[in-house]
Every structure is written in structure tokens, then in C-alpha cells.
Symmetry: C2
Subunit: 598 residues, 2 copies
Amino acid sequence: MPTYKAPLDDVMFLLGDVFHIDRYGNLPGFAEATPDVVAEVLGAVGKFCSDVLTPLNRVGNTEGCRRLDDGGVTTPPGFKDAYRKLVAGGWIGAAAPVEFGGQGLPTAIAQTIREFLCSANLSFAMYPELALGASAAIFAHGTAEQKALYLPKLIDGQWAGTMNLTEPHCGTDLGQLRTRAAPQADGSSRITGTKIFISAGEHDLAENIVHLVLARIEGAPAGTKGVSLFIVPKFLAGPDGALGARNAVSCGSIETKMGIHGNATCVMNYDGATGSLMGEENRGLQAMFTMMNEARLGVGVQGLALSEVAYQNAAAYAKERLAGRAMGGAKFPDKAADPIIVHPDVRRMLMTMRAFNEAARALVLWTALKNDVAHRSGDADERQAADDHMGLLTPVIKGVLTDQGFANAVLAQQVFGGHGYIAEHGMEQFVRDARIAMIYEGANGIQALDLVGRKLPKDGGRALQAFVGAVAGHIEEPGGNAALAPYIAPLDLALGELQQATAWLAQNAPGNPEDAGAGATDYMHLFGLVALGYMWCRIAEAAQQKSAMGGNGTAERMNQKLVCGRFFMERMLPASSAHLARIKAGAASTMALPIDAF
Amino acid sequence: MPTYKAPLDDVMFLLGDVFHIDRYGNLPGFAEATPDVVAEVLGAVGKFCSDVLTPLNRVGNTEGCRRLDDGGVTTPPGFKDAYRKLVAGGWIGAAAPVEFGGQGLPTAIAQTIREFLCSANLSFAMYPELALGASAAIFAHGTAEQKALYLPKLIDGQWAGTMNLTEPHCGTDLGQLRTRAAPQADGSSRITGTKIFISAGEHDLAENIVHLVLARIEGAPAGTKGVSLFIVPKFLAGPDGALGARNAVSCGSIETKMGIHGNATCVMNYDGATGSLMGEENRGLQAMFTMMNEARLGVGVQGLALSEVAYQNAAAYAKERLAGRAMGGAKFPDKAADPIIVHPDVRRMLMTMRAFNEAARALVLWTALKNDVAHRSGDADERQAADDHMGLLTPVIKGVLTDQGFANAVLAQQVFGGHGYIAEHGMEQFVRDARIAMIYEGANGIQALDLVGRKLPKDGGRALQAFVGAVAGHIEEPGGNAALAPYIAPLDLALGELQQATAWLAQNAPGNPEDAGAGATDYMHLFGLVALGYMWCRIAEAAQQKSAMGGNGTAERMNQKLVCGRFFMERMLPASSAHLARIKAGAASTMALPIDAF
């Protein structure tokens, strides 16, 4: 049975030593986030994850969710009790606005909580995560009344939330959606249609569920320009939040799917359900995207989270399972064989996961800090620069962290050999659960197109220029010391390749947009390698400084980071050149076959 | 529900136009394998796969195998009837020796049959596959009596077979095994112990199951040098094959596992079961490896098979599912949206699968022809060269085809978006089923070590020299024409990288064996890229020639191959340089951390 220990030390090191969270003290909420407070909150969440959520992960997989005859859905045994504990901890709203009952802590803390929860039990973690997504959209687009009614209950976990976009015939291409909204005399609308793949669509954890639903108001234009967003609660509620009548929305069935069995993926039927418009008429997609960007970052964190827990269990198994002898001679001659961690190919797999995990966590926290600057800073230029960063990095974090997170879950399973394929050790569940993150909230190909087609050209390429400038600035930093050269030099090469790729796209895509489409996924991964490589340079610099300062075991711990960073530079970053070569090949051979040749 | 159409045209093109099977007419069995006979046999198998086995694949996944209270195991509904049809077709023994009831056809035909069966229903295909593995070992190492008793019934499918290697505490490191054999006065042995992960260990398809079991004879040396191989039938049989008493071997349980639910993966308990020694005492591992090499090639074919069927279904979905519009403007303005196959990123996924499938199939068939030369040629030098090829290519085919086969099943699932994650379309089953092939018959890391540690240095590197010589000879072929340069030039580069990698290992590994271990997986994949690239050059050359000869639709079909080959060269082969860079990084950063740092 898998175990999990929250990587608290790494988070504290990243926040304190690499990103100097103390320098953000001028932002609201940061002064309260002293190292002691952060360590206490994260320590408590970590303990909850290890003790309560981790054992329930297997239960969720085995028992799944059940739809009752009356359309109600029961979550796996133990989920309700765990959810009560989560709510009691006040952790759902860690970074939510204080005015609506949140703790107002930095987003970095919320992302870390999210990582821990998802490592321990992705299916469970999705319930509060979707509620937070809904609350983010209501916060951004709701009326004062909508905010007052829904936010406090979503943020404290009393109510849950969902996103309803996909229909049987359309997911990515929401312009095709058919769910319709009929305006009523009282200002509400009647919503009718079928939504599918609705995560946490129905369950027994919260007393109410707030569905955000995309629908087309009668008479609205066809396509994406006629889509509006509605709030459709499971139970109608008075302005005081008292629950009223059951609304005409129900779970038609639960999908049978590859993984995340503990989360109810529902077909939701809207049969003239009462909804209230949120934001402007026909601008529903824009409003939904506010929510999507937050959600996409969260899904990227899921990739990291699965990679982390898979790594931890693979490392433990590799230290315990005996097979063969070390190449240089027995390391444990008193045992029947050496533990498999002595074998370089096993190490390769473990190091690949770890070198990814620590840099990916850095990228998430760095971006979370930018998120707070974007929303909390008093300086408009700072806000804009941070918002640029968020827009640019969101598809990269979603796409790269989930692709690599899945790949790492597969690697971790491979460390177990045949024991990884059977259910007993739980490794195959990590693989099945991690797989969804590459698909939902916009399949990763869509993330790549968002990056290349929208985020790169936006504002004349301002966001990319700032990112490249930050990386290049770090590379050229005066006073850079020789010990960091093994990190800086490979990053410099990879950054050059990213710039070449960008220039190639800028030159070719205007004349042949398919060149951009055919290279998008490779560009996203090349970008991700540079971003992760940059994180390793920042980590290495901080580790070197901290190591010099001494302290109990510090030098050893910091040396581990320096080794992992070197592994990344030598063993993972070199994939960059293959991505560049593929991009520069253009779309010709990709697109040459006629459709009927497939 | 997935469909499957056997790629008969591609096989006929490869056998006829690329590898000129008619030139092998001097080998026993080849004269009978006229194009008409081959097309008829493969056509019949293909039809059986499409009509019978494909619909049963979902049933196998859903229903699984059941262990009865008496230890018997029932296969999923429909499997017994399908198995009867398979036996009636005479297809199990297509390439088996005529003297034991086989058809004696070329191995390439048997490998093709295997590919078709595995595409349609991997769980089902494993039952006859394991019987063939057992028969190969008995053919190579059995006594005349053992052959006479077991081979005809294994080859015609009346009896089934298994391989029993793994025990709870050891799989790869079989020197640790504990199952013991007590010699009896009558020459038989009593086998006692527990074996796990035994595919097709118990079932209801055949009237008897012939278990090949590794065990240690009492008093034998510890480690690998004390392991012997025994034949342990489920029912003891007289010399005439008449079934006698039930032997003391039984299925203790069926594993709950990630995929291949239609195949019973059993814990097998041997409680003083009667077995007969096969081959020499204490040389059981060597005998088992005869079987393992055949089996490993077969598992490589499974990777191709899953990739092929996943590709076919992804292509069909991509032509049908409507979302968005082509970048250059609507391709199907009369529809609500264009089919997603118009999008370059979807094409990228489809082309990646297809460019792999056709080259991998070529590699399998080329190697299958070498297999027949190795076993059937009258020329000792030819036999040795072919055997060298087999030894060298076996780990590459097993490791690379299953890694990429799984990756392609994941890509195919991705084409379906959210619909790929739910069970309904069957794509997630392909992913779960394909995953096992990277693990069993020696996890892929073991394949890489076999390649780098054993096959490269063997006989002074003779096998590698011959392989590199064949590729280099093709590159330098006089009369090479300019139209083939886009294929030849990238292969030349990649071959150079493989040679650099080989030279680097030759120089560094003797002093630091961990350098070889740390680079093994990358070396295997670099080798695989060169081998597949070489296949594409051979295919391109044949396609160009055939295209010039004309014929109904020939030019279009051949042009498709030329396009796929170009895609491989431009988009897949460039990964070679990253592999080389990783290999040359050596083991330092991989091995630097102390064990307790994990």
C-alpha cells in the first residue's frame, strides 16, 4: 500500500531560500505568512494527507462512487469523514479573500496544499478544487448578491461547485454547444440540456452543489459569441443561504473510466433548471476562462503531485527490493542480493522523477507568487508583468507538468517490475489517475496551441520577451561563479534553441499557420525544459549559498539539490535539440497525406 | 467499440517488395509460401481477428477470468468458442515443425499472425503464444520422448503451456529462486514451491496445460548455477498422450491487475507435483532463455500490435469527430465543424503512430526472416550471421517496440480527448493492456542491459559490426538516387551518433561499468531509431521502385509510404541526438547520491 510524506522541507527551501517570500511582505496576506505559520499550516495539511487521505486513495479506487436510484451519488467510504476534517482545518480557503471567509494567505500556500492533497488522493482533492474554481469565477464575474450568497459557503466547504462545459458532441469546440437558457420574467433563466464529463457533478460531501453552466440564451448568435454562463445550484437558496427547493438538475449516470474512480464523473441533465446569469450575456466563454486558467494551473500541479507520490513509493521499493549485485561488486554482501537502487538504470528512473519534481515545484511556486503580484500588488506595471507571466506559463505548466507527471508515474511503476502492474502496490492506480490530467481542462494539444497561437503573439510578444529576459539576465548575472557553470551553460544553449524556435515560428507561421500547429507541442515542451532548467539554476544558486552558510546536515541536503540539478542539465535538458529540429521541420510531412489515406 | 482491420496489404508489400521473400526459396517451408498461400492464410486470420476476436476484447476486459472454488479458472464468455476456431484454423502451428504437426511456414507468417491476434485481443492471444513458447523450449531441449508426447498437442492447440519463473521475492534475479525439486526413484521429480505472475497459468481453453517450471534440485548449488527446468503437466499423461491423474499443481489465486483482464495471471502452487527434468541438471536458465528469446520477440510484436489497433481507431475517430476549423479555412463548410484530423497537432499524433507501425513491422519481418535463416539454412556462416542478428535485435525489438507501442496507445487515447478516458470507446483498455509488454519477459531496463552488457561485446562485437555494416552499406549503395537523399542523409547522421555512442561506451564502460548501465536505455532507443530509420530507407527505396512500375492506385499507396518515411526522418529520428548526449554524460550525476538520500 502506498505511503506519502509531504515534501515540506523542499517547499520551505523554495519559498524561503530560492524565491525569498519575505521580500513580498508589502502584498496583502504575506505579512501573516511567516515561516512559522506556513510550516504549521503545511505541516498540518501534510499530516492529514499522510494519515487520512493516503489510505483512502485505494478505497476510492476500489469502491468508486455509486449512483442511487434517486439520482443521488455516494462517495467512497471514508470520504465524507475526511471531507469534514478538511473543512474543519479551514484549508480549502487558505488563499481565498478574507472578506468572504478565506484566510487570504499567499497563493503559493494554496498551491502547495493542492499539491499535497492531490499526491495523497487525487479523486478526493478534486472535490474542493472544483469548488475553488467555481468561487474564482464568481469572485471575478458575479454580482454583489451572487458573491455574498455563494462565496462564503464555497470557500468554507459547506457547499461544493462544478464546471459544466462539455456536451456529448463538443468539448474543445464550445461554439457548438446546445444547452439552452430561457429567460424568465423574474430575471432567472430555465436551463435545459445535457452536460457530460462533469467532475464532482453529484456527491454527498456538501449540502449544496453550485454548478456553473455554459448555455445559449434563446435567440443568441450561433457559435462562441452566443454562449452565456449561469449559476445553477442543486438546491435553490434564499439570500440568507437557507436551502430551498431541489432544482431540476440531476445526475443521469456516472461514467466508467480509466481512473480517478473516487471522483464522480457525471452526465448532468438540466431539465428546465433555474439558473442565474453570471457576467454579461453572450460573454460566458470569457468568464469561464477566468476559471479555466486557475483550473489549468491546478491541473499542472496534479501532474507534479502524482509524480511526487509515485517517486516516493518507487524510491522506497528500490531500497527494499533485492535483485542482482551492484556493477562494481556487492554493496550489501550480507543480503541475498543488493537492493535494486544500486543499479544505474533504476537510478536513472528515480533521478528523472526527482529532478523533474523539484524544478516543477519551483515553477509552480514562482508562478503562484506572480499570481499574487498580479492580483494584490498596488503597482499597475508590476501587476501587468505578473499577469503576462501567468498567461504565458499557464499552458506550459498545465501541458508539460501533466505530460511529464504521467510519464513519471509510468517510470515509477516500471521500477516495481511485475509488482507495478498488479493492483496491490497501488502504482498502476497512480498511472491511471495521472492520465486524466493530460486530458481535462483542455487537452495538452490545446495548451500547446494556446501557447503558440495566442500567448506568444499577444501584445507584440511582450510576455515572452520578459520571460526570455529574466532567464537571459540570470545567465549573464555578474558575479556568476564557476561552480554554477555546469548549470548555466546548458541553460544558455537551451535558451538559444528556444529563441531559434520562436524566430522560426515568427518567420514561417504567418505564411503557413500549419507550421505553428505542427510544432506547437514540441514548442511547449521546449519551453518547459527551459523553464525547468531556469528553475534548477535558481535552485543551484540558492543551494550553493545555503550550503556555505552551514548548519546541521544542510550541506548534505543542499548537495543533493546540486546533484539533481546536474542530472537535469545532463540528462533531461538535451531533449531540447530534438524539439527544435521537429519544429523546424515544419508541417509539410505532417499534413501531406489526404484525409482518406488514414 | 473499437474495430480492427488486419494490415494485410502492408505485410504483403514488406514481404514481397521490401524483403523479397521469393529469394529465400531454398529454405525449407518457403517454397510452399507463395504469395497466394500467404495472402489466403493471413486473410483468413485477419477475418477471424476482425469478426471474432475484436468484439471479445471488451468482454475479456469487463468479465475477466474467474477462479472457481475447486481451483479451476474460467476464461471470459466467448473465449472457449474463439479458441476452438483458432485451433480449427491450424494457425497456432503455422511456422512449427512439420514433423510435429506444424505447417512449417516461414516465421514471418507466424509473427504476422501473432501481430493480428494481439491487435484484436491481447489477452486471448497470450494463451496460444505461451503454448508456442513452451513448445519452442521443448523442441530445443526436450528428449525424444518429451517431444513426441508434448509437441504435437501444444502445436495443434489441444494442450496449452506456460512459463513459471517468477517467485514472490524474485523475478529478474532468478538465482534467488526457492522452488525445489526432489528426485524420485522413477526418474521423475517432486516440485514444491510458489510461482507468481504466471500468465495463462490455469484456464478452461485446453484439456491440459504444460507448465515449464524453474526449480532447484535438492543439493544443487545456490544461485543461478543450481537452477533446473522441469516439465510439469496439469494432468499426467501416458506416452500415448492419454490423460491420467491430476497433478499436484493448482492456481491459488488470480492477480487483480491493470489490464489484460482476459488472461488469467495466476499464483501457481506446486505441492510435490510430478515433473520431468528437461535438458541438463542445473542448466535450466540456459534452456529457459531459448524460450525467452522467442518470447521477447513476441512481446515486441505485442507493442506493435497495440500501436496498430490504437492507431486505426484514433484515425477513424479523428475523421469523424467535429471540432474547430482547419487553420487555412473550413475544409468541410457544410458541417458544423471540420473533423479534427484537419488539425496539425492531431495529425502529428496519427503520423507518429503510423510512421512507427510500418517501420516496426518491417523490423519484425526482417528479423523473422533472419530467424528462419538461422534455423533452416544449410550454410553455417549464414546461420551464424542470422543468429547474431537475432541476438542483437531481440532486446531492441522487445524494449523499443513495447515502449513506443505503449506511448502510441497513449497518443491514440489522447486523440479521443475525454472520450479516450472513459471505458466506452475502448482506448483506455489499449493503454492498460499495452503497459504490460514493457514489463514482462524481462522489464525493458533488463533488455537495455542485455543489449549493452551482453550483446554488444559478444564475439568481439561481431553482431554489431555486421548490423552497422548493413546500414552503412545501404547508405553508400552505388546508384542511390537523389529522391532518396531525404531518407539516407538523416539515417547517415543517426548511424554516426550510434557509432559515437558505441565508441564512447567501449572506451568508458571497461573502467566504469556504471557508465554502461546509466546509458543502456538511451543506447537501446538510439539503436532502435537507427534500426527503424534503416527500415524506412528500405521501404522508401521499394516504394519508389514500385510506384514507377505503376498499377491501379499503386502510386498513391506508395506515396503514402514515402510521406510517412519523411515524417519519421524529420520528426522522430531527431531524438537520436538527445540519446547520444545522455549516454555521453556518463553515470556521475545518476549515481552520485547516497542511497539514503532517496
